[in-house]
């Protein structure tokens, strides 16, 4: 039965769903890259995703509009980001702990709202696949890359866009400086608090979209705790990708491919215990982090609140 894995159809299937499954990782991890580049560790990504996930699904379910659903996820993510920014920038709270707080809030709140407002698992019609004339018809390639929905395309477009903003714009320069030496940035008139507010809220918005991509584009349902650790893997991917959007893309693809593989292993009924198969992406997270930890250097000011007077 193992040989079934290597048939062309199955390989294309694995790759296509791998490309698709990288979407939530990409949105969340690129957002996290921005906030970490500016010196803020946001461990609340998972919670932001869960709320985004629910908001998108519920609004879509009740109004029938996918775009309103997406907008709701963006708004919820931005609000969560705003709260996180206030806690870490103004109140200078310890970032790791407050991030876990935001995660638990998102976990509990999304479940509570789900119980109150819906109660049962429903489904919606998610974002449709977009057919690109010509490209979608290429055998194999078309199926893998050009037969996806708009949120998937958006996630991949985000990678070069993030690289461009970080490296070619004055805003990107400010973000990098604030994450490395906020005192220097401050002495040159850069508003450190404003830059961090921007990146944290942007991170929140992208986490919200990451959640929406699950509930109204990929799986098209909402269940309690449906992100199941995906947001934490996204944080790990930022370390894995060495705070570089392209590195993050590589990490996201690695994990989504492994995930896709294990899903297909189960679908094909290959005799590997499903518990072990499901574990694979998480085991990989730990192995990869152990292997990469000494190679990369985090932004110097990461997790350090900024205060002008020493």
């Amino acid at each position: 039965m193992i040989t079934e894995l290597f048939s062309t159809t199955v390989l294309i299937g694995i790759l296509a769903s791998g490309i698709r499954l990288a979407t939530p990782y990409l949105y969340a991890a690129i957002g996290e890259t921005f906030s970490q580049k500016s010196g803020v560790l946001n461990l609340g990504v998972e919670g932001q995703m869960l709320l985004g996930c629910f908001a998108a699904f519920y609004v879509t379910f009740t109004t029938g509009s996918l775009w309103l659903g997406l907008l709701a996820a963006i708004a919820v993510g931005a609000l969560m980001g705003l709260a996180m920014a206030f806690v870490t920038v103004n109140l200078r709270a310890q970032q790791g702990i407050s991030g876990i707080g935001f995660y638990l809030f998102g976990l509990g709140m999304s479940d509570l709202l789900f119980q109150r407002l819906m109660g049962t698992v429903e489904t919606v019609q998610g974002f449709p696949k977009i057919y690109i004339p010509g490209l979608s018809e290429i055998p194999g390639i078309g199926e893998i890359f050009f037969n996806q929905n708009i949120l998937v395309y958006g996630a991949y477009l985000l990678v070069p866009l993030a690289w461009f903003v970080l490296n070619k714009t004055t805003l990107g320069l400010k973000i990098r400086a604030v994450g490395e030496n906020p005192d220097a940035a401050d002495s040159l008139g850069v508003n450190v608090a404003r830059v961090r507010y921007f990146t944290i809220i942007l991170g929140g918005i992208l986490s919200g979209v990451a959640g929406a991509s699950l509930s109204i584009a990929l799986l098209n349902v909402f269940q309690q705790n449906m992100t199941s650790g995906l947001g934490f893997i996204a944080v790990a991917l930022v370390y894995f990708g060495a705070w570089h959007p392209v590195g993050v893309l590589g990490g996201a693809l690695l994990f989504s491919m492994v995930n896709s593989l294990q899903l297909w292993v189960q679908v094909l009924g290959i005799p590997i215990p499903s518990d072990i198969a499901v574990m694979m992406p998480y085991v990989l997270t730990i192995l990869v982090l152990v292997a990469t930890v000494s190679r990369v250097r985090a932004p110097s000011a990461l997790t350090k609140p900024f205060e002008r007077d020493e």
Partner: protein
Amino acid sequence: MTESNLLPSGQKRIDSLEMRGITKRFPGVLASDHVNFDVKSGEVHALLGENGAGKSTLMKILYGLYHPDEGTVLLNGEPVTISSPTDSINLGIGMIHQHFMLVPTLTVAENVALGLPSSRGALTDLDKVSNRILELAKIYGLKIDPDAYVWQLSVGQQQRVEIIKALYRGAALLILDEPTAVLTPQEVDELFVIMRQMVRDGHALIFISHKLHEVVEICNRVTVLRNGRTIGTRPTAETTKQALANWMVGREVGFAPDRGETKLGEVRLSLDNVQCGSDRGTPGLRGVSFDVCSGEILGFAGVSGNGQRELAESITGLRKVTSGKVYLEGQDITNMSPGDIMERMLSYIPEERMRDGMIKDFTVAENMILREHQKQPYSKNGFLNLRGIASHADELIQKFRVKTPSRETMAKNLSGGNIQKIVLAREISRNPRAILAAQPTRGLDIGATEYVREQLIEQRNKGAAVMLISEDLDEILALSDRIAVIYEGQIMDIITRENATPEKLGLLMAGVRSEDATPVVK
């Protein structure tokens, strides 16, 4: 005469700047008490004072980082309000901070462009910035590569980036906060050349320092601050080093402690071709060998980051020695645990006294027994003997003249000088066979510095072998019997006190081996 109003950078000059009656209160402290200060175009005005005299506070007010409670700032005779660094930059005031305000992971051009509007809107215009940097570099004779990353640059080059950064922003008046603290003597000379040219061109410079010979050498006028008050302003031509020192401290001070004769004894500590890594994974020490004898002070001169930290840590067991041997009184102590090494009566006064020398949130008494807390009379069978600890603390507080409200005061609430006295008391009162002192007077005021130096000399006279690692060349020259110069993890040379001059040491510190100096043989 509009021509003469402009500086070579194309900016307008600041003819005069005056700070009048500046008062700044912090909770419980009067940091500035009606301070008056002024500087004119074409002069270097020194601001001199001990730590805590109010120099930094005054300059932070001028740069817009602090807001004064009282007083006015007049620019060319007109009152101005400076409420942020942006305001002061717009007025043509620039500041070279003591700890450089640079982002190491960015290039020179990116550091310069940071925070400025770009000619391309939201996109950076680094090519344009680079061209302007090269233009300014040419006018002011500052060699700089705009595309180099700041972490690749030497300290002297980083300082040039800071100067360029200020000039780029149109600085007509520059505040230089202890600019020579981290430079070699040659780099100091280079800086002074640049400063003289800037002054000739019509810039106004404020020079903050506590190195008196530099103040006398480079400055036109000097203002002395003490306890937040202006003591007075004088032309430097009418004063001397000694007069300035007395003026600054408010009493007679001695510069060179009386050293007495050198009575060399047996070899106490020796290193044989010691190598170790640095925190960055690069080689930290590359084969260091030397002997220190009973009754001498061996000074280690060098620019910061050339292996001093690694040297101290490999001797004290805090860093793994990868090859070579360390001997204390003939015993091999290489890679022993720090505890075992200290047990053999090596005392250590670490560079980061607040981090490695003591525990901030422990009391004075507790800090004094950190080293020997498991011994009688401080503890028995694992229980602390509070009475023994208290009497030991009282004794040391008195003997080492530690100014503290009580032995139960948290160490963090004491001044830097008194904190160093606690470390010194703990390390010296056990009559060590060898002492390793790293930057023992850094950041201390003149009084405390004097005291620490006297204690080191006294230990030497009592027969201890003393190693003194310092970036302050004056200190090395004043205390050492022999001077080893450390450069990129190697000992360039060891010269005797009689043969040492700042010039000779400076060249060695920059990695230049002079022809007449004898090579290191061991």
